[in-house]
Amino acid sequence: MKYIDEYRDAESAKRYSDLIHSITTSPWAIMEVCGGQTHAIVKYGIDELLPKGVTLLHGPGCPVCVTPVELIDKALEIASRPGVIFCSFGDMLRVPGTKGDLFSVKAKGADIRIVYSPLDTLKIARENPSKEVVFFAVGFETTAPATAMTVNQASKMDIKNFSILVSHVLVPPALEAILSSHNNNVKGFLAAGHVCTIMGYTEYEPIVEKYHVPIVVTGFEPLDILQGIYMCVKQLEEARAEVENQYTRSVIRVGNQAAQDIIREVFEIIPRKWRGIGEISASGLGLRNEYASFDAERQFGITEYSCEESSECISGLVLKGVKKPHECEAFGGRCTPEHPLGATMVSSEGACAAYYRYRNTSLKK
C-alpha cells in the first residue's frame, strides 16, 4: 500500500541504522511515547539495529493500558445493566477490572458490541430507541475529535438514548510527570505522530525549554522511527534540545484546527488517574456542562469507585521507562496477555505484551 510499503524498505532502514551508529559517541536513553511505536519497534526489532548504548524506553502512550481499573469497573457495571447496549473498541474487552472483564460480562448475556468508529454507535442508538446505548470513549488526542464529533452530532440530532463513559487522556502532562520524577532516565522523546497530527507540537516547546530534552515528532513505520531516533541522537550529541518534526507528511506545527475546535467545544481539561502511574493534574478530558446529559456516569448514577492495583505489577515503572518488561518477576509466568496483572500486559500496544509476543521466549518465566 502506498505510504506504508516504502517506509518498510530494509535497505533504507539499514542506512539509517548506519547513520545512527556513525554519530553516536555516548549512551542515550530515548523514550517513544506511543504504544503503536512500541509495538512497531519490538515487532521489527528496531531496538536491535541501534548502537549498544542507545536504549529505547517504552512510554505511557497506550490508552487501553492506562485506563484506570475504576473506569473498567464502571464499564462492567453499566454494561451489566438490563436495557443497555455497551459499545467499545475491541481492545478494551479483555482489560481486567477487579471483577473480570467485558468479555466475561458479555458471556453472561450482556449486549456488548465492538465498534470500529464512535459514529457507528449513533446508528445503533437510532436503530434501538428503547435501549440505552453507551460508548466507552478511550484514547489520546488522536481519538478525542472522533468522540467529540459523535457527541456533537448526537446533540444536534437530539438523540437521547446515547451517552459516553469518558476516559480520554492527554500526552504532554504525562511527559512532564515523567521528566519531573526523581528516577527519570529519559534524555529525549519521540513524540506520537498522530497525537501531533491533531494537536500540532507547540505544546512541547515549553517542555523542551524547561527540561532541556529534545522532542522529535515521529511517525509509525520502521523508517519513520529510525529517522526519528537519528534526529533525536543528533540533537543529544550536539547538546541541542529542540522540537523537531520527522512526520512532516502528516503533521504541521499548529495541528488540525477543525479537530481541535470540536475537542474544545465538547470537552474541558480535568485531572485523570492513569493506571500504573496515578493521578496527573490537567491530564484528561471530561464533558463540558453543556454536554453533561451525554455523560454515562451521570446518566447511570455511578458512584466513585476506588480500588487497589496488584502490588506485584511494576507497570508504573515500565510506563515511566525505569524498568524493562522482562525485569519483572511475574513477566511471562504469573502475568501473561491471557491473565494480565496490570497495565502494560493488557493491550497489544503495551510494552509487556509486545515483549511477550515478539521477544525470545527464554525471557519468559
Binding site: M1, K2, E6, T142, D224, R249, S250
Partner: protein, 84 residues
C-alpha cells in the same frame, strides 16, 4: 490505538461541512470515511484515517523527505570522498 491508515479518496459522498464524507480505498478495501477534519481534501488525495475519521491530508511533497535525506547524505559522502 492511535494508529491511522493511509487511504485514497475515491469520491466525496456528502459535502456538508459537519458531516463531510467520502469513499476511501485502503489498498482496494473501500470504506466510508468522515472528512469533516480535512475540508480541503478532494478526490484522488490521500488521507490518514483513524477510527473512521480522516485526521490529515498527506503532504505528497513531504512524503519523500525520509529518502531525500539519505540521498543528500550519499552526495555529501561522494563530495567528501572526491576531495580527500
Amino acid at each position: 490505538m492511535c494508529l491511522a491508515v493511509p487511504g485514497k479518496i475515491l469520491s466525496i459522498t456528502d459535502d456538508n461541512p459537519l458531516t463531510r464524507r467520502g469513499r476511501v480505498s485502503f489498498g482496494g478495501i473501500v470504506r466510508e470515511v468522515n472528512l469533516a477534519f480535512v475540508s480541503e481534501a478532494e478526490t484522488d488525495d490521500f488521507v490518514m484515517v483513524h477510527v473512521g475519521f480522516a485526521i490529515s491530508q498527506i503532504d505528497e511533497s513531504e512524503a519523500n523527505k525520509v529518502f531525500e535525506y539519505l540521498k543528500k547524505m550519499d552526495e555529501l559522502s561522494e563530495i567528501e570522498g572526491a576531495s580527500s
